[in-house]
């Protein structure tokens, strides 16, 4: 029986090998060189066996992997050699003192990171952490609210340009008044958050009645509109050249050299990430968060329950936009230079991809996904030209083998606790 199956699989792999040879023949075997008007075709027959062997092994391995995946739910296969290790880790983490130690070690590692690894790695980490904030923010909209937003980079741009424009138009008066320009960063943070929220509400108004594909198209258009406006209002935004020499935040009125400034921004962004995680968690565990999830599941049922869909959608977009605005300010401060090219559709897709790879609706997923997508390309520079290819393959593999993402959401068990709040006199609707 096993032999029969094996023979079948080998035959299938052989067939796929032939198919790959045919498919790749024009690319990898034929080489056309054009010299003085005549095309010369050279055949590199030597690469043919390599294609054959690689495609045969790959397709056989893929078949085995799919086979393994389809039996993964079976009881006897649930226990892998890794299971005892996983269980031991989970048991250890469940104990409070151990969890505290792990958390302290993690915190210490985060704290010494910039000193241990230097400016180059600190800057990479800052960029990755900015993406973590973005992913956590978009996670509110996509993961909880179920509203596909492809124009998220627009809010990122709004945040960055708020700081940039503040610098361009308010900065000079700061300089002439003798106030340290480093303060601008702190002024920009709340303003950028607020303006991003306003833009979030502006976007949500026309899309109140849309869902799914239509919503995706409108948000995509919104993202492009914001970018185009930034690009074409030269006198104000500097057009395609953008805004440069944006000040980094100063430490207590003291201008820092670039290296120390990077460390400082690193700590700021760490604090912002922790703040974001805290707020997003609070939202997720609250009734408002559950109402967002209910909206994702069924809009009509929501209305029948008395949930105000308009308010729900407005707050979803506004909450998501707020964090993008904050992240934008940090980006502008870190790079000291912004132009519309940093806020293309590709940025929105990257953030969305981080969420999907990590696990939609999961906080560890958003963090893990964003770190993976931003850090891996930096450390695998030699493979940079295959980046899109690797993303594509990774997405397919994750969707097939880990459809819930790499770090899926572990739903907190909801318990009804009547003692949590004092009973109030009289009910609202009674």
């Amino acid at each position: 029986m096993i032999h029969k199956n094996l023979a079948k699989e080998l035959a299938a792999s052989a067939l796929q090998m032939v198919w790959f040879i045919v498919l790749l023949f024009p690319f990898l075997v034929m080489k056309v060189s054009v010299t003085a008007g005549t095309a010369l075709v050279r055949f590199r027959w030597g690469s043919l066996p390599a294609i054959a062997i690689v495609s045969f092994i790959a397709s056989f391995a893929w078949g085995r992997a799919l086979e393994w995946n389809s039996h993964r739910g079976d009881k006897e296969q649930k226990r892998t050699p890794l299971t005892p290790i996983k269980e031991a880790i989970a048991a250890a983490l469940a104990r409070k003192p151990i969890r505290r130690v792990v958390l302290l070690v993690l915190l210490a590692a985060v704290a010494v990171y910039p000193f241990a690894l230097g400016m180059y790695h600190t800057n990479i980490m800052i960029t990755a952490l900015i993406y973590v904030i973005l992913a956590l923010g978009l996670n509110i909209v996509v993961g909880l609210g179920g509203l596909l937003n492809l124009g998220y980079a627009a809010f990122f741009a709004v945040g960055a340009y708020t700081y940039g424009l503040l610098w361009k138009f308010v900065g000079p008066s700061f300089v002439s008044a003798g106030i340290a320009t480093g303060w601008l960063f702190w002024i920009a943070l709340p303003i950028a958050g607020t303006i991003a929220v306003v833009f979030g509400i502006l976007l949500s108004l026309p899309v109140l009645r849309l869902r799914g594909d239509y919503l995706a198209i409108i948000t995509l258009a919104f993202g492009e509109i914001v970018r185009m406006v930034l690009q074409n209002s030269g006198p104000v935004t500097g057009g395609a050249t953008g805004i440069s020499l944006i000040p980094r935040p100063w430490l207590l009125g003291l201008k820092l050299p670039p290296k120390q400034a990077a460390t400082y921004i690193y700590y700021i962004v760490i604090v912002l990430v922790i703040l974001t995680i805290f707020v997003v968690r609070r939202i997720e565990d609250s009734r408002v968060g559950r109402a967002l999830e209910a909206m994702r599941e069924d809009e009509i049922a929501c209305e029948a329950m008395g949930i105000d869909l308009v308010r729900n959608k407005l707050s979803t977009f506004a909450l998501g936009a707020f964090w993008a605005g904050i992240a934008g300010v940090v980006l502008a401060a870190q790079t000291t230079y912004i132009n519309p090219d940093s806020f293309t559709l590709w940025e929105s897709i990257m953030v969305l991809m981080a969420i999907v790879i990590g696990g939609t609706g999961s906080i560890p997923g958003a963090i893990g996904g964003a770190l993976l997508l931003k850090l891996l390309p930096e450390y695998f520079r030699p493979l940079a030209q295959y980046r899109i290819l690797i993303y594509g393959v990774a997405m397919i593999v994750i969707i097939i083998f880990k459809p819930d993402g790499l770090f899926p959401r572990n739903r907190k068990k909801y318990t009804f606790d009547a003692q949590a709040t004092e009973p109030q006199a009289g009910e609202a609707q009674k």
């Binding site: 009734r287 559950r290 109402a291 999830e293 209910a294 599941e297 069924d298 009509i300 049922a301 929501c302 209305e303 029948a304 329950m305 008395g306 949930i307 105000d308 869909l309 739903r411 068990k413 909801y414 318990t415 009804f416 606790d417 009547a418 949590a420 709040t421 009973p423 109030q424 009289g426 009910e427 609202a428 609707q429 009674k430």
Partner: protein
């Protein structure tokens, strides 16, 4: 005065008129049923009352107040709650979370808790499955959950849209017994939209027959049950 009254209500989908001037009234404490064939406009009537499908002309009056231009979530806070067609529970939320969504507009936790226990007493099956995701329940259990969720809003009038849809006869029987119990024990007024005319008329005080978007007949349910025309068209006798 009737608790809920529809006066000459017309509803359109684009240019198509789905309801052609419907009038009906539901007294406090009654069970009133609206029966009719597929496409007669039963669900549209319900959606029009709730404000989810806005009406074009006429009036929907709840306890003396015209609610025809009030938004759906406000209507719920006025004491009208509905069990939508096809149950529409939240599949990824747990049973308990579904029920909590039903009580979305209330904030007195101890009263909600009391209602939760009452609902669990009504449907012991739900208590067993309180931490299970709604989508993993069977059809009958989902219907129980949908009814419980609507009850969690403590409505004065409960609107039910085809609670028998896609359920086994024995379960349908159970569900209808419980609807009757809710009416008797909690004094909740019930407006029941049904295709299963036989079952609906047996527990109702009053019935309306809807045909092609217009009320064709209105009578006490005993009379409708023996009416020749109704027997032929809706009871299959």
């Amino acid at each position: 005065m009737a608790l809920m009254e529809l006066k000459n209500v017309s509803t359109y989908y684009g240019n198509i008129q789905a309801l052609k001037g419907i009038s009906l009234s539901v007294e406090e404490g009654e069970i009133v049923t609206l029966i009719g064939a597929n496409g007669a406009g039963k669900t549209t009537t319900l959606m029009s009352i709730c404000g989810i499908t806005p009406i074009r002309s006429g009036q929907v009056i709840l306890d003396g107040v015209d609610i025809s231009s009030i938004s759906p979530h406000k209507i719920v806070s006025m004491g009208l709650s509905q069990v939508p067609e096809g149950r529409r529970i939240f599949p990824q939320l747990t049973v308990l979370e579904n029920l909590d969504m039903g009580a979305f507009l209330r904030d007195n936790k101890s009263l909600i808790k009391a209602d939760l226990e009452e609902v669990f007493e009504l449907f012991p099956r739900l208590a067993e499955r309180r931490n299970q995701a709604g989508g993993t329940l069977s059809g009958g259990e989902q219907q129980m959950l949908a009814i419980s969720r609507a009850l969690m809003a403590r409505p004065r009038i409960l609107l039910l849209d085809e609670p028998s849809l896609g359920l086994a006869p024995i379960i349908v029987h159970n569900i209808f017994q419980i609807i009757k119990r809710i009416n008797e024990e909690r004094k909740t007024t019930i407006f029941l939209v049904e295709q299963n005319a036989n079952m609906a008329l047996k527990i109702a005080n009053k019935g309306y027959v809807l045909q092609n978007g217009a009320i064709k007949m209105a009578d006490s349910s005993e009379h409708l049950l023996v009416n020749e025309e109704v027997r032929k068209a809706y009871l299959g006798l």
